[in-house]
């Protein structure tokens, strides 16, 4: 009984199997195949049992039934090939190989089975070869369907991956067999696999035997690839995929060279742009595996083709690819290993190029100079030898041509070419000084550059300056005499009209060359600049005021420009500081603009020092005490009231000083910063002046304790310093400092000082780590703000403090920021502070330059604007709708500021919901609101023309009205919107065409050129609407 049950249990799954097989083979159901495979995988029955169950259907006389039977077996094998034993594999292979001779209906399933077996690890040696032989012999692959051809390629790929040695044993027969399989393939999916196989055949060194040319033919017949993927192609094969994989095959071996190069030449000469590009790129790829031997016979034709493409270029891409190919060819010829008896082709190739190009360089009409120069430079850039060969011929020629031509623009062209060749020299380093090809031409080059620098043409001067920089960067080329002359020229150019291009370029060149030749600049330029600076002081009366001022300015700019080397900084910084001290001495009339100019120079020097910690610390250690010293001295009450001293206390001058201090502090290391902070905070809190260079003052320095308003103003300098410190620097007496700052921020006698204190407080708050102390500071701040807002006299100050504290918290995503923002929004309806609150949103959203900056180590989250937008815009919109008519503009303005500062891609999806508000805002009379609204609508017109079409009437009317606004920026924006309107569907626009064209005639006569420009382009587009040819 028990035995019977066991038998039954064993028989039950087999019965089930038979049922499943029956359903699949006869019942034509697809489901059972997966069921059987799953059962085999889970061990319910073996592959052998499946074969047995299939039994007769595998030998059924009806081919469709046989095919179905084999299909089931193959599908099972595809999922279970890893379970097969060696013995099973041998039998299955024999079976399948035999079936290859069967009816054509059966073949697809047989191939599937073989593919499954090709994946089996149990495949014994020898069978892979036998399978492939059988396929090559029995199957005419190209008459199969695409999927089945793909299966054949997969079988080959699988065997090549796992049975490389065995397949190599087949010798060239394998290659030949594959060629037959591939011959005539047209489907891009199969081609990608086939190209991969050919590439492997070559790169893994399979024997190609006598079939090299056949293999080349069977692949190169696709070159150049001409394939456009069908729309909605699910396979996602791109033209470039095919191009690149074919190129990998063609350029994989020098053995193809004799067949490929003629083909490439033929295709470069064709009329089709893509064929030219592909051929040149393939040639370029070939050069990395070819040698002189392969290229030898084809060099003249290749050169002729490339030359023609570059000379007669119709497309910049073809030109660029042609030059790149020439570069690679030359590089290939330069580095090929030669046999002892072979001639070096590089020389003859380069001579050919030179022969064809040099006469163009000398033609008086200069028609083909640029293409020729580009060709020569492409070749010269390939190797040191090529560079020397070409430069030694071309440079003398160009030097001669420069003197032959007399016009500045012709000379400029020639000098630009020379510059190109000089730049190439920098790619190669020469060990021996005499080997350097430039040494011979140095004197001529220098005199030519100096001629260019004295030419009246700015363009020629500019090229001259660039050439001088390149010559200077050649090691050991220029003599000290040359350098002295060069420095002299740069000195002269530094006093050209400011803002001219040559002036900017000369300063930049001075900076670059100073890093290389600090000695020359220190001995030849600095004394002259120092004298000039000094002269500016003493010759006031004699010189025309404007002239002196601008020479002085140039001098300051030159000083900061050359502060690129630490040794120079040690000379320029004292000069600048000394100049500032003189300005403070009070025996000269010093304009605030001059002090500001000095500060700007100091700041530039500090920026240049930021890369070098030692210089930077030198700057900080020297400049900071000096600047604070000067400011403190200026703030001292004096008996004889000197107007001059007070220059240093003007708003703009203090701001300039503050930005020097900030720039000189941000890059300090925490240790050095900590050292500095222990001097500066006590200066302000305790009046400790001991670290200042001159510290005998008539009275104490007490900016916080009822000091004079002059002393209070200096808090701006403290702000610049402490708000630029790294976040982990501990600030001494922080608690006291914060309280003093809060107190001063509400002091209404001097808005400058109170704002500076508010900013300082906010800056410190932003960097304060979370914790009890931060909460205390926040509580104090909120109390101060509320008390201030409730009082009458210091409401403005309290508002400014609220604004800065809110900003500090918004930037760091502090939870309290929401509450403060709501408070700020409440102020929008305040009759007194409303407009200021609206403008405050601009401050919240914008990047500050002095405090709360990323450069100053503030905690600024990258998405703070987006977050602010999401959190607050709904409330603003709601507030707008609820607000009484007279304060609505405040809400609109606040909203405008938020929208304006948001990145456009973030804004665009949100705008449709705000559209009705925006349309309403167009009627607002505030130009800030108008401008911001227009700048929101403009991208919306481009992106969502359908939605905007609904409002065409309002849009046209409003835009046209705003195009005669009194504000230029609004007029421009309105006209840009008129232009963007043309993107709307033509049927919507055409009814307005004649009205708009008439209306736009008026801004064509606007007094501002920038407005006219927009009017012209908008009107031009409207003319084209619905007109033929547009």
């Amino acid at each position: 009984m028990a035995a019977a049950t066991a038998l039954e249990e064993a028989a039950a799954p087999l019965d089930a199997l038979c049922g499943l097989v029956q359903d699949f083979v006869m019942g034509q159901q697809e489901g059972p195949a997966d069921q059987v495979a799953a059962d085999v995988k889970s061990g319910v029955y073996t592959v052998l049992q499946v074969v047995e169950a299939l039994g007769s259907s595998l030998e059924n006389p009806e081919p469709r039934t046989r095919a179905r039977g084999i299909q089931l077996l193959s599908r099972v094998l595809l999922q279970c090939h890893s379970l097969l034993l060696e013995k099973e594999v041998v039998h299955l292979i024999l079976f399948y190989e035999n079936r290859l001779k069967d009816h054509h209906l059966v073949i697809p399933s047989v191939l599937q089975g073989l593919r499954a077996l090709s994946l089996s690890v149990a495949l014994p040696p020898g069978l892979a070869v036998s399978v492939l032989k059988a396929i090559f012999q029995e199957v005419h692959v190209q008459s199969l369907l695409q999927v089945d051809r793909h299966t054949v390629f997969s079988i080959i790929t699988n065997f090549m991956r796992s049975r490389e040695e065995e397949l190599k044993g087949l010798g060239a027969d394998f290659t030949f067999g594959f060629i037959q399989v591939m011959d005539g393939e047209k489907d891009p999916r199969n081609l990608l696999v086939a190209f991969r196989i050919v590439h492997d055949l070559i790169s893994k060194d399979y024997s190609l035997g006598p079939f090299v040319e056949e293999l080349f033919e069977v692949t190169s017949c696709y070159f150049p690839i001409d394939f456009t993927p069908p729309p909605n192609d699910p396979y996602g094969i791109q033209r470039d995929d095919l191009i690149l994989s074919l190129r990998a095959v063609l350029a994989s071996t020098p053995r193809f060279a004799e067949f490929l190069l003629p083909l490439l030449i033929e295709k470069v000469d064709s009329e089709i742009l893509s064929a030219k590009l592909d051929s040149l790129q393939t040639l370029n790829a070939c050069c990395s595996v070819y040698g002189q031997k392969e290229l030898k016979d084809f060099l003249p034709s290749l050169w002729a083709s490339i030359r023609r493409e570059v000379f007669q270029t119709a497309s910049e891409r073809v030109e660029a690819e042609g030059l790149a190919a020439l570069h690679s060819l030359t590089a290939c010829l330069s580095c090929s290993v030669l046999r002892a008896d072979a001639e070096d082709l590089l020389d003859s190739f380069l001579s050919n190029i030179l022969q064809d190009c040099r006469h163009h360089l000398c033609e008086p009409d200069m028609k083909l100079v640029w293409p020729s120069a580009k060709l020569l430079q492409a070749a010269a850039g390939a190797s040191a030898r090529a560079c020397e060969h070409i430069t030694s011929t071309v440079l003398p020629l160009l030097l001669e041509q420069f003197h032959k031509h007399s016009q500045s623009n012709q000379r400029r062209t020639i000098l630009e070419m020379i510059l190109g060749f000089l730049k190439l020299q920098q790619k190669w380093s020469y060990e021996d000084k005499d080997e350097r090809p430039l040494t011979r031409f140095k004197d001529q080059l220098c005199s030519l550059v100096f001629m260019a620098l004295t030419d009246p043409s700015t363009q020629l001067q500019l090229v001259g300056i660039r050439t001088l920089t390149v010559l200077g960067s050649q090691p050991d080329l220029l003599s000290s005499g040359d350098l002295e002359l060069a420095v002299g020229h740069l000195y002269r150019l530094s006093f050209l009209e400011e803002d001219s291009e040559s002036w900017v370029a000369a300063l930049e060149a001075s900076g670059t060359l100073t890093t290389l030749y600090p000695g020359a600049f220190s001995s030849h330029l600095l004394p002259k600049l120092a004298k000039e600076l000094h002269k500016g002081k003493s010759d006031v009366a004699r010189e025309d005021g404007l002239m002196k001022c601008s020479r002085h300015f140039c001098c300051l700019q030159a000083l900061s420009a050359i502060s690129t080397h630490p040794s120079i900084v040690r000379e320029t910084l004292p000069l600048l500081l000394q100049r500032l001290c003189q300005a403070n001495k009070g025996n000269v009339v010093t304009e605030s603009s001059e002090v500001i100019a000095i500060c700007q120079s100091l700041q530039q020097v500090a920026e240049k020092c930021q890369q070098d910690p030692e210089s930077y610390w030198y700057f900080h250690e020297t400049a900071i005490p000096c600047l604070f010293g000067l400011a403190v001295q200026a703030s001292m009450p004096e008996k004889e009231s000197s107007v001059l001293r007070k220059v240093l206390l003007e708003d703009e001058v203090l701001a300039a000083l503050a930005s020097v201090i900030g720039t000189a502090t941000t890059h300090l290391s925490p240790e050095l910063a900590a050292q500095s902070v222990t001097c500066i905070v006590p200066l302000f809190l305790d009046g400790n002046t001991s670290f200042l260079p001159e510290n005998s003052f008539p009275s104490r320095f007490q900016p916080f304790q009822d000091g004079s308003s002059a002393q209070r103003r200096l808090v701006a300098l403290l702000t610049a310093f402490v708000c630029s410190l790294p976040r982990n620097v501990e600030i001494p007496q922080l608690n006291q400092l914060m309280r003093e700052l809060l107190e001063q921020s509400c002091c209404h006698s001097c808005p400058f000082a109170s704002t500076a204190a508010a900013k300082c407080f906010a800056g410190l708050l932003n960097k304060q780590p979370p914790g009890q102390q931060l909460d205390e500071f926040l509580q104090l701040a909120v109390d101060t703000v509320e008390t201030g807002l409730a009082s009458g006299s210091s409401r403005n100050q309290a508002f400014v403090l609220l604004l800065w504290v809110t900003k500090a918290l918004v930037l760091r995503y502090h939870p309290l920021s929401a509450c403060l923002t709501t408070r700020l929004m409440g102020l929008l309806s305040d009759p007194e502070l409303g407009p200021a609150a609206a403008d405050g949103f601009s401050l919240l959203m914008s990047d500050c330059t002095d405090v709360l900056t990323r450069a100053g180590h503030a905690d600024v989250r990258i998405m703070f604007r987006q977050r602010f937008f999401t959190d607050n815009v709904p409330a603003l919109v709601q507030g707008f709708h609820a607000a009484p008519q007279d304060v609505k503009p405040n809400y609109l303005k606040g909203l405008s500021h938020v929208l304006n500062r948001l990145p456009k891609p973030v804004l665009l999806p949100e705008l449709p919901t705000l559209l009705s508000l925006l349309l309403e805002a167009l009627s607002c009379h505030d130009s800030v609101v108008q401008l911001s609204t227009l700048s929101c609508l403009q991208p919306l017109l481009l992106e969502s023309p359908q939605i905007m079409s609904l409002h065409i009437d309002t849009l046209v009317t409003k835009f046209l009205t705003l195009s005669s606004s009194h504000s230029m920026a609004v007029r421009i924006a309105a006209l840009q919107c008129m232009h963007a309107l043309t993107r709307l569907p033509a049927p919507v626009l055409l009814p307005y065409k004649s009205q708009v064209i008439r209306a736009l005639a008026k801004p064509l006569d606007d007094k501002k050129r920038l407005v006219r420009k927009e009017a012209v382009s908008a009107r031009g587009e409207w003319f084209l609407l619905g007109s033929p040819g547009s």
Binding site: F311, Q312, T313, A314, M366, K367, L368, V369, W370, P371, N409, Q410, T413, S967, M968, A1001, L1004, D1005, K1007, K1008, R1009, L1010, R1012, K1013, V1016, R1019, G1020, F1023, L1024, S1027, P1028, G1029, S1030
Partner: protein
Amino acid sequence: MVGGGEGGGRVGLLENANPLIYERSGERPVTAGEEDEQVPDSIDAREIFDLIRSINDPEHPLTLEELNVVEQVRIQVSDPESTVAVAFTPTIPHCSMATLIGLSIKVKLLRSLPQRFKMDVHITPGTHASEHAVNKQLADKERVAAALENTHLLEVVNQCLSARS
């Protein structure tokens, strides 16, 4: 005649590969004065040149500036007197497109300048075989208006005036 024009065009194309001769000028730099609301900027030769330099040649994918057909020095303009005179230089003396180029320039100016301007578009003296006849056509208001009634001509002119893609 058309064949001749094309042949000439190809030579022109080749010449223009050379940036020395027909370099494209960059955007006009914006000066501080131009940004000042109060200062009026008068219409000058560069402004007129900027209007017409980007007109496409009817035959080539190049602008009139690149082909050196128009140059800033050949533009005379007086804002107070409301006059502008543009001389253009066909690429070759027998260029069949001269009238069409002149027409395009004229239409561009008509669309872009205030109505008060009196404009004169003509061929640079001595650069075209039938200079006189072309100038006469371009100066004739009725002929210009009639030409723009012609759908085919308007289409070509509009193509010349469309922004390059």
